[in-house]
Subunit: 364 residues, 2 copies
C-alpha cells in the first residue's frame, strides 16, 4: 500500500509537491499555518492543485486545512516544505500530532531536522525518523492558490536521515514519490552543507547592495550581478564551506564543479562558468529589489550561520563567511550570529567532532 | 624672510600647491620621482605652473627636478604631496637630503609622518619636525603637466606636528602659505583619523562591487551609490572609527556632522544628508570603474588598516572595519592587514596607551 502523506506548508513548493503526489495516486493532506487561512480556503474549495508547465494535471487532495490534527491523522510520511523561518511555527502546530512511527522530511532542510529533533524531543517523540533534502525537487511558482507552474524538475536531490543509521530505510520509503533521483548523503549535515544558495546568494547580495537599492531598472542576478570580483568572493566563501565540511568528515562538491556537471557548462572559474549559462542568465532581470529578501533573511541565518558555527567550534577559520554574516546583519538590523541556527539550537551542546558524529548517527 | 619651499610629488595636488605658493611669492622647487621624468621635463620647460579655475595665474618655480638633492637644497619647509603608497619611494630619494632644521609636512598625512619618522630615524635625523594634514587644501585636477584646474579651495585643513609639543611652531611657520584656515589638532593621529575618505569610500566600494564592475553606464558615487543600506554601513564604520579614536584620547567629529557643517546640509542621517548635497551629487557619473581604484588601494591599507591596528591594540572592536578590510583584500588579492600601515610600521612596538601618547608628544 502507498504511504499516506501530509505536506506541511502550502507555499510554492508545498503546493507543487502535494499536487504532484496526489496526481501520482497518493493520499495527500496539505496543511498551512492558520495565518494563511484565506489561501487554504481557496485551495480547499478547488479540491486540489492544478499543475501547469512541465508537469500537467489536477492532483485531488484529501484535505487542505489549517488544523494540524486533521492534516496529520494517519500520515506515514510528513514533508515540511515551509521556508526555514517558518519551520518552527509550523512544527509548533504539528508537533503534538506527530507520532513515533512517522517519517518527517524537511524539503529543503537547511539544518531544520537537527533543530526539529529538539522541538520534538521536548514532546518526548524520540523515535520519530527525521530527514532532510538539500533542495526542492521542483523549480516552480504559484500562479494563484491551487494553480502552480512547474518550470522544471531537477536531476537529483540529496537526502539523509537523522539518525543517519536509518538513511536506507528513509530513502526506500520515499524514493517512489520523488520525480528525481535521490542521492544518499552520509548524514543531514552533508545535505544542508550542500545547499549552494549560501555561496551563490549571500556574497552576491552584499556586494550588490547599492545596485539592489538603486532606482535603476534592475539586473540579472547570476550574470550581471556576479562580476569577476563578486565571483572571487563567492569562490572563497565556497572554499570556506568545503573546508569546514571536511573537518566534519563531509564530502562536498565545489560549487563550480556542481554547476558544470548539472548544467553541462564549461569554464576555468565561477565567472566563466556563469557567463555561459542560459539557465542562470536566460530569464531576464531577476535580482531582488531589497536587502530584506530571503537570499539574505533565510540564507544567512539558516545556512551561513550554522556553517560558521561549526567552523568556530572546530577551529576552522571562515573570515569571509563571518564578514558576510556580519554585514548582512548590520544592514538588516539583526544579530544573525545569535538569532540564526547556531550549534546550540541544533542540539550540539558539546562540540567535539566525536559527539557531533555520534548525534548524527544515533540521533540523540 | 619667506621660508624656502620644496614640494615633493608633482601630481595634481603637488602642482597646485607648488604653483600657488610660487604665485604668492615663495621660492619653490618641485620634485618628482625619476619614474615620472617625462612629466618633470614638461613642467621644467614651461618654467612653472599655470593655475586655472578658482585660482588663476602663473607660478614661476625655481626648479622642477627628479634630483632630490637639488630639490631640497636650502629648503625650510618640505611638503610631501604624494599619494600614500608613493610616500616611501619619495622619502627614500629625499631622506638623505633632509636636514634637521627642516619641517616636513605630509599633505595629506594618512599616518605617513609616523612611518616617516622611522625612515628618517634610520638616517639619524631625529631633530626633523614632521607634520600632517588631513587633506589637500585644493580640489583640483591637472589638465596637462604644468596646467592645473582649481575647482575649489576647502574651508579648513586640520594639522598637527610630530612631536605634538611643536604643534604651534609648525603652524606658525606654515599658516601664511595656506589658502585655508588651519585648525590645530592634538597630534598627528587626530589629523589622520579625521580623513573621512575611509568611511565614505571603502564601504561604498565594497557594497557596490557588482555595479562598479558591470557594463552599465556608471553611477554617481556619493548619491546613487550611497543607498540607505550603504549609508548604514558607512555610519557604523564611522562609529567604530570614533570609538577607537576615543580610546586614543582623540576628539573626532562624526562624518554626518562634518558634512552638515562643511556644506550647510541637513538631515537626520547620512543618507538624508547626502541626498540633499549638490557638492556630492552634482557632478554626474563619477564612480570608479574598477576595484583597484585608490578608494580601496589607498584608503584601505593607509587609513582603515592603521585605525583597525589601534583598535586591536587597545581592545576596541571594529568588526565592520575588519570585514571591509578583509573583503577588499580578498577582492584585490592583497593581505591588507599585513601590507598596510600597521602599528609596527608606524613605530609603535609597544602598544600601551601611555607609550602611544608619549611617542606622539615627544616624537620618539
Amino acid at each position: 500500500m502507498k504511504p499516506v502523506v501530509s505536506v506541511l506548508g502550502a507555499g510554492n513548493g508545498g503546493q507543487a509537491l502535494a499536487g504532484h503526489l496526489a496526481l501520482k495516486g497518493y493520499s495527500v493532506k496539505l496543511f498551512e499555518h492558520p495565518d494563511f487561512g484565506e489561501k487554504v480556503s481557496v485551495i480547499e474549495s478547488r479540491g486540489g492543485i492544478e499543475l501547469r508547465g512541465n508537469l500537467k494535471g489536477f492532483g485531488k487532495l484529501e484535505k487542505t486545512t489549517t488544523n494540524a490534527g486533521e492534516a496529520l491523522a494517519g500520515a506515514d510520511v510528513v514533508y515540511v516544505t515551509a521556508p526555514s523561518f517558518a519551520q518552527k511555527p509550523i512544527m509548533d502546530k504539528a508537533g503534538p500530532y506527530i507520532d513515533e512511527g512517522m517519517k518527517v522530511v524537511f524539503i529543503p532542510g537547511n539544518f531544520g531536522s537537527l533543530e526539529a529533533a529538539s522541538w520534538l524531543n521536548a514532546g518526548k517523540k524520540e523515535g520519530v525518523l527525521l530527514g532532510e533534502t538539500n533542495t526542492l525537487p521542483y523549480a516552480c511558482r504559484q500562479i494563484e492558490p491551487g494553480i502552480v507552474d512547474i518550470w522544471g524538475v531537477k536531476t537529483k536531490v540529496l537526502m539523509a536521515a537523522l539518525p543517519s543509521k536509518r538513511n536506507e530505510e528513509l530513502i526506500q520509503t520515499v524514493k517512489e514519490m520523488f520525480p528525481t533521483d535521490i542521492v544518499k548523503m552520509s548524514n543531514v549535515l552533508e545535505t544542508s552543507f550542500s545547499n549552494l544558495n549560501m555561496v551563490l546568494h549571500c556574497p552576491t547580495m552584499i556586494l550588490n547592495t547599492g545596485r539592489i537599492e538603486s532606482r535603476e531598472a534592475g539586473f540579472r542576478f547570476y550574470t550581471d550581478g556576479m562580476t569577476p570580483s563578486v565571483c572571487k568572493i563567492s569562490e572563497i566563501t565556497d572554499e570556506e564551506r568545503i573546508s569546514i565540511g571536511r573537518a566534519l568528515g563531509l564530502n562536498l562538491q565545489p560549487q563550480t564543479q556542481w554547476l558544470k556537471e548539472t548544467y553541462g557548462l564549461e569554464g576555468g572559474n565561477l565567472f566563466e562558468v556563469l557567463q555561459g549559462s542560459d539557465v542562470y542568465g536566460g530569464h531576464g532581470v531577476d535580482a531582488p529589489k531589497t536587502m530584506t529578501h530571503r537570499y539574505l533573511t533565510e540564507d544567512v541565518p539558516y545556512l551561513l550561520v550554522p556553517v560558521a558555527s561549526f567552523g568556530r567550534a572546530l577551529g576552522v577559520p571562515c573570515p569571509v563567511i563571518e564578514s558576510i554574516i556580519l554585514l548582512a546583519g548590520k544592514i538588516n538590523g539583526k544579530d544573525y550570529f545569535s538569532e540564526g541556527r547556531t550549534l546550540e539550537r541544533m542540539g550540539f551542546p558539546s562540540t567535539g567532532i566525536e559527539s557531533i558524529r555520534e548525534k548524527l548517527l544515533e540521533g540523540a
